[in-house]
């Protein structure tokens, strides 16, 4: 008989959306989030191999009621085949970071390997590393990388798969 769920509880959720791979499907999803005032923390999309579907991964947050609405409203979109609200998942995010060549190559290499990554490219002026890890650990990596004066950091957004 409790009339409202706890609206203040803000939880982070990763939702996978399997959609028909057709034009404007992504705008339908983002417009839904914008129009109904839901948050998008990160969004990735790529075609599913050997099918006419795409896999959209959305990291979002909101109260229990909001998360439930997000799932249901996504499901209502005509080209949406399936919505998976991840519970037990493996979640990864990729990040690319660029450092000046003057920084210690060895230190940066060790740092990158500590976060499941390594050096992707070494050029005349820059070192580029690639790291793939859980979003929380990616945050730590970015913090740790600061001492090597990164010129640019590009995060890739979350992908997840149910365990």
């Amino acid at each position: 008989m409790q009339k409202s769920l706890d609206e203040t509880l803000n939880e982070r959720r990763v939702i996978s959306v399997i959609v028909m791979n057709e034009s404007s499907v992504l705008s339908r999803i983002t417009a839904l989030f914008a129009g109904r005032g839901y948050n998008i923390e990160s969004l990735t999309v790529a075609p599913i191999p050997n099918s006419d579907m795409s896999h959209v991964t959305i990291a979002t947050n909101g109260s229990t009621r909001v998360i439930e609405q997000i799932t249901k409203q996504l499901h209502k979109l005509i080209p949406v085949y399936k919505v998976i609200e991840h519970e037990e998942m493996i979640e990864k995010e990729m990040v690319l970071a660029k450092f000046p060549i003057g920084e210690s190559l060895a230190d940066i290499s060790v740092l990158a390997s500590a976060y499941n990554g390594g050096i992707a490219n070494v050029g005349k002026d820059m070192i580029i590393v690639m790291v793939t890890d859980e979003p929380k650990r990616i945050k730590h990596f970015i913090e740790a990388a600061q001492r090597y004066n990164p010129c640019e950091i590009v995060r890739g957004g979350v992908v997840a798969i149910e365990r």
Binding site: K3, S4, A31, H75, P79
Partner: protein, 569 residues
């Protein structure tokens, strides 16, 4: 069926879907389709005088019949004018297919003349939309558009067709079925959940049927009447459900919500089991959510899962079509103890006696509520009543004796002023033998008054009953109550000569200031084959009561004067 142009395919699809009347307005990008309309005789086309009216007319047609309404507009401004119509239909889940022309494919994205991103603009106000990419997909898209519009929770679908595709010639075969693997509506409710809900109904002490527009959309009124009758559970209707149970049904308490009657709102406040059938707990119905049905468990039957748990927590969620769910419930309710609810029915009856839906009549001036009751007496069950939005709409919903579903056509969700007149045209096209009255106000009617010309040209004799208080009445009422009588931009004292206006467009005008004139005018108007404006001068400062102030609890109603004296509140 052989080779034909895209424009011809559009016409063939409309005929194949059994549509008899299309409302629209031509223009550059849709001209090829109109050229085909000129050549065919499979359906009639009505030329409205504004695209918004075309969509509302198709909407009125759909609401009156239950079939898919079709409107056709050109690109750019033709489409943007149609947006209000789409949004109106979307909010009330009305099945429409709107076909819009688009600039040729090669010009899309170049800011061409009369180019606008129609699918982009209409995304939040359609159930689905299509930009046709090739002639090959056109037949499938048209088929899917009609299917999506009418299936599941119905809604408007836009098909945007670039001009070159209407010119191209290709093979046409209209698909006999659709296959959309990502869209499979749920019709059958979960058997276990239904069983549990039925158990709850049997165990409740103060159950209440909360009937919404979904019952009308599902054509389930007969079944819901049977459910009420079998269980003897009292019922309230939303604005969209007026007519489902019928005004004469002793179990019907009335309409609930902001302008609901006392018994209905008290019933919702005191019930211990809400049985929600096709209603969506709109804020105009619930008032303050934390006080809404505070002591009740909730059974929520809705075809749209997203409606369930959106605003209130639900104890018995049932996703499914009302028809199928109620059909499954009925046999399980055999032998239900109807005496169990006798005490509850008596309490509610007492509430209704304390504060009945009432108003103080006058001999000096026509009261708007009297006007509504009077047309109820004169045309009653036979007429179709459409309305615009405002005080007149609420008075009509409160006082007209609606007896059957689809008799009451109004814009509930979006609240679109200007809806009533074109919707009346659509309803009258669907049921030419029925009297169709648009109950409107001196504000709303001007928002689509150009339809006088349409109605006169096609001899569509709808009656526009203008309850004229020389005010934007509902806003004026709020200003009286909540803005210390500062009547900002609501005084409509400057008015057209209504009679002359109607006559100049080929219609009839009546100026009505007395009850005798009212009777004479309505009786004359019904016999005419011309559209009319009935300018009924009513009490300027009449309020719609009861009223639950916005955001207030349902049981905190402002009640009409007379009943306050006798009552306890």
């Amino acid at each position: 069926m052989g080779q034909m142009s895209g424009a011809q395919m559009v016409c063939e699809a409309i005929v194949a879907e059994g549509v008899k009347t299309v409302f629209g307005y031509p223009g550059g990008a849709i001209m090829h389709v109109y050229d085909e309309i000129y050549k065919q005789d499979g359906f009639e086309h009505i030329l409205n005088r504004h695209e918004q009216a075309s969509v509302h007319a198709a909407d009125g047609y759909a609401r009156a019949t239950g079939d898919v309404g079709v409107a056709m507009v050109t690109s750019g401004p033709g489409f943007t004018n149609a947006v209000t119509g789409l949004a109106t239909a979307y909010m009330d889940s009305i099945p429409l297919v709107v076909i819009s022309g688009q600039v040729p494919s090669s010009l899309i994205g170049t800011d061409g003349f009369q180019e606008i991103d129609a699918v982009g603009i209409s995304r939040p106000c359609t159930k689905h939309n299509f930009l046709v990419r090739s002639l090959e997909e056109l037949p499938r898209v048209l088929k899917e558009a009609f299917y999506i519009a009418r299936s599941g929770r119905p809604g408007p679908v836009l098909v945007d067709i670039p001009k070159d595709i209407t010119v191209d010639i290709g093979e046409f075969e209209y698909p006999s079925s659709v296959d959309i693997p990502t869209y499979i509506p749920t019709y059958k409710g979960n058997a276990k959940q239904i069983e549990k809900a039925v158990e709850a109904m049997k165990l409740a002490k103060k159950p209440l049927l909360y009937i919404g527009g979904g019952v009308v959309l599902s054509n389930a009124s007969e079944l819901v009447r049977e459910l009420a009758n079998k269980t003897q559970i009292p019922a309230v209707e939303t604005l969209m459900a007026r007519g489902v149970l019928g005004a004469k049904n002793p179990l019907l308490l009335g309409m609930l919500g902001m302008h609901g009657n006392y018994a209905s709102n008290m019933a919702m406040s005191e019930t211990d089991l809400v049985i929600s059938l096709g209603a969506r707990f709109d804020d105009r119905v619930t008032g303050k959510l934390s006080e809404f049905a505070k002591y009740a468990d909730i059974i929520h039957v809705d075809i749209d899962a997203a409606n369930i748990g959106k605003l209130v927590d639900v104890d018995y969620p049932i996703v499914g079509d009302i028809t199928e769910v109620v059909e499954a419930m009925l046999p399980q309710l055999d032998g239900i103890d109807t005496d169990r609810f006798e005490a509850w029915r008596k309490i509610l009856k007492r509430y209704d006696e304390l504060h009945p839906q009432s108003y103080v009549d006058s001999d000096e001036v026509i009261k708007p509520q009297w006007a509504i009751e009077r047309i109820g007496q004169l045309v009653g069950e036979d007429a179709i009543i459409t309305s615009d939005v405002g005080q007149h709409q609420m008075w009509a919903a409160q006082h007209y004796p609606f007896d059957r579903p689809r008799q009451w056509i109004n814009s509930g969700g979006l609240g679109t002023m200007g809806f009533g007149f074109p919707a009346a045209l659509g309803a009258k096209m669907a049921f030419p033998e029925k009297t169709v009255i648009n109950v409107t106000g001196d504000g709303s009617i001007l928002m689509n008054m150009q339809e006088l010309v349409t109605a006169a040209e096609y001899k569509i004799p709808v009656i526009n009953m203008i309850l004229n208080n020389h005010f934007l009445g509902m806003v004026r009422q709020w200003q009286t109550f909540f803005y210390e009588k500062r009547y900002a931009e609501t005084d409509l004292s400057f008015q057209p000569n209504w009679k002359a206006l109607a006559e100049s467009c080929g219609g009839i005008g009546y100026d009505v200031t007395t009850k005798e004139e009212f009777d004479a005018a309505i009786k004359d108007a019904i016999k005419q084959d011309k559209v009319c404006f009935m300018n009924v001068i009513v009490n300027r400062f009449e309020d719609v009561l009861p009223m639950v102030p916005s955001g207030g609890a349902l049981f905190n109603m402002m009640l009409p004067e007379t009943t306050k004296k006798e009552g306890e509140a």
